[in-house]
Amino acid sequence: MSLLTIIGLLPLIISVLIVAIPSKNVGLIKKVAFAGTTLIAIISILLAIGFDKSDTSLQYVQSNAWIPTFNINYSVGVDGISLVLILLSTILVPIVVLATWHESDSGRWSAKVFYVLILILETLMIGVFAATDLFLFYVFFEAMLIPIYFLIGGYGSGNKSAAAVKFLLYSLFGGLLMLASIIGVYVISGNQIGATFDLAQLATLEIDNRTENFLFLGFFIAFAIKAPLWPFHTWLPDAAKAATPGTSVLLLGVLDKVGTYGMIRFCIQLFPDASKTFTPLIITLAVISVIYGAFMAIGQKDIKGLIAFTSISHFGFITMGIFAMTSQGMSGANLYMVNHGFSTAALFLIGGWMMMRRGSSTISDFGGLQRVTPVMAWTFFIAGMSGLALPGLSSFVSEFLVLVGTYTRYPVAAIIGTLGIILAALYILIPVQKILHGPTTPGNENLADLNLREKIAITPVILVIVIMGFYPKPVLDLINPTSEQVVTNAGFSDPAAKVGK
């Protein structure tokens, strides 16, 4: 059994342990959840250490027959891209558990159900990035919706059940379109090389252009809803506003990455020709997302809504980097996925603490927190700066790579995208100023600063943001070889820099 399978199974095993603990013993449930997910994080770091960076083929592979009738296998394996995303998931989960210790207390159901859902979600998140069988991926992709749906609907606030349904229906719709495409690919493989769901084999299919375009769209729309890309984004702000901060971290930080990951792994690898055909359209949508998300973020009065729209803008950058089809753009996009995960986590967690203390999520209710709660204010400031890609913080490196990578092929898109950075300064600095600086407004005088648990939870996130800003090499070393390979396999070579005449 591959180490990957063990890591994937561990959350399930821990969730069984938690089921065995009596519901009343909430403290023990939380401790087991935290200890268990930390253990998983440590093992997954070991997995990363044991990963051979120079080898671009899949590692930790395992394959067992699951449904032989359709040649469906339980096949898992990781390359650089999926490895960093698995790391992102497994590291964020214990942080979320620790940071949102009391999130589960006021839900519709008990804390036990909350942690069982989180752990099931973790298994599915690991599975979705590890799957190398298209069918297996789809199963994880769709099954993931159910725990998130219950997490939003059961523990969220405000108009939570409507938001949960909107999220679920959007995702299901996309997923079903993808199912039609998966069936198409499967049947075509049956006609050409023998029916299979193995990704490496499917990539060798010769599909006629018209069919390929349709199949591509089935996948792409599903991923664009997930990512989310304008105009498929409308579920995200609602879901982010209704979900608890911890759920939002997992939703925006990890789950939405499945969308961009899927574009790289499936759209480009399986349908290189169709990807080429649709690239101009997708780059356009990505640029619109960047600008639209930024403008909407500027207009937000609600902290959660603000973070949601900044994410839409950032996902625009990621998509742009992917479809620029240059190795820099691809690397940048992959790095961006990781960085966005951590900076969103920081924003949501600290924002969540602020909202919990103040009892409001409206930006104008806050003021002058710098004086009252210096630690909370400083961490929020760093998270915000990471969100606007300040040089020296992690997001800067990835945003820079994306823009450089895009410029060599689509200069106009890159230039308009740069506008997004300027807008980012607006949408981050204005709220930061309102919330942190100035005189302390009424209602904020007696807010408590971060306690020890919260400090411990946020430290690793802030550390990653700062260290990755100065020294992204360890992660880039993992990402670069695979990114280059993806671009090359899709039949692209990096364009030579244009020389002015």
Binding site: S161, A180, I183, G184
Partner: protein, 502 residues
Amino acid sequence: MLTAPSLGYALLAPMLIVLAGAVIGVLVEAFVGKTRRIAIQVTLSIGALLLSLQQLWRIRDLSSTTAAVGSVTIDKAGIFLQATILLLAVAAVLLIADQDNFVAQASALPGSPEERTALQEKSAQTEIFPLFLFAVAGMMLFTVASDLITLFVALEVFSLPLYLLAGLARRRRLLSQESALKYFLLGAYASAFFLFGAAFLYGYSGTISLVGISAAVGSANDVFLLIGIVFISVGLLFKVSAVPFHSWTPDVYQGAPTPITAFMAACTKVAAFGAILRIFYVGFAESQTIWRPIITTIAIITMLFGSIVAIAQRDVKRMLAYSSIAHAGFLLSGVVALNKDGLTASLFYLFAYGFATLAAFGIIALIRDSSGEVSDLNRWVGLGKKSPLTAAAFSFLLLSFAGIPLTSGFVGKFAIFSAAYQSGNISLVVVGVLASAIAAFFYIRVIIMMFFTDPVNDSVSVIIPSVKSKISISTSLLISLVLGIAPSLLLTTAGNYANFIR
């Protein structure tokens, strides 16, 4: 001198055992005292079904397949279908054994003094069991009948008891009786259409056997063939409640006693689709250019109509009725596929859908207030708080109907759609996934009502089921669960048995 033809009793035995059980059941009604009937009837029914299963197991590998002078073909697919019907029937009879769903005395007018007396005496209408067994035997015959007359006889043998059973609900009796009458009248029309079509096909080919009809294609004026196929299809599509022949379904599902609804929804679907598959794969395979566009259109309309209209339903039984209409559309995609994968997929789908449906209706029968079953969805709010386990089980079944991965419904849908794609009917696949997306909406709405809405102060509660219901529901649930995670257990078998002898 005449020699008696060989009937092939071994092959017919599974059906004969069930029929014998039914006849003995009638005798029990005549000779056994009122109080002891129910226990005997239940034992007799289960015994007959299990014995029949055992006989089916014994003949599964027999090389000779035709019996009763060629009018019955017990081939691999036939055996699979018969076994499916028997297994579902065992689960259904355990639900039916909960007598409090049924009228105390059917002949007493609703609200009359006779009815009150019957209720006080705790008398029970135990004729249900022989009727049930006759229906099961008819269904079994329907899936293996290989000529048009036998098909018609089987159709009537299983339909007539169902018309009666639908009218026997204990509460809201007028609704129940109305639905039975509606079912009977429309069913009679459909049977007439079937017979009319059979006559045309006989006129066209000069034979009533499916193989003969297949061989005769192209030998005469195709208009008669077309008319024959269309009219036969009307009769069959009525039974599987495909649009536009579906209008009885919601009324009957709602009016009939819930265990009978469970039985009809599960077993009638298997029997009717079993016959449809046989007729189209064996009898009409050569004339596919004639009927394929028609059935494709009907499948598309059925999927969309069922899914869309279900959204407007406020009654859980009616909602599941429309959902079953949508599922009939999915299954028709397997018929249109007309390849071995399509047959395998259909066999798997029927089995998985049958058990999920049985479990769902079994659970519905448990949700009550003081005046009986509560099927109004608005009163299901907060059920997840009152009895989380029941609500979770029902949600799981709904997710299976919706086709979410890791449920049996998903595997079935995937199998059917890939067979349809394989056969080049891509439009069916696209409409199928769209309909699934629409359908997801109303399944999920029920989950919201149960889990995300606070319970109102209402007397609705989940009654504690009898041991029999408990066994039936939990077994069906377990089967749905296992088929979702390890579908190959059944898929491989379905693949091996997906074979019609021509």
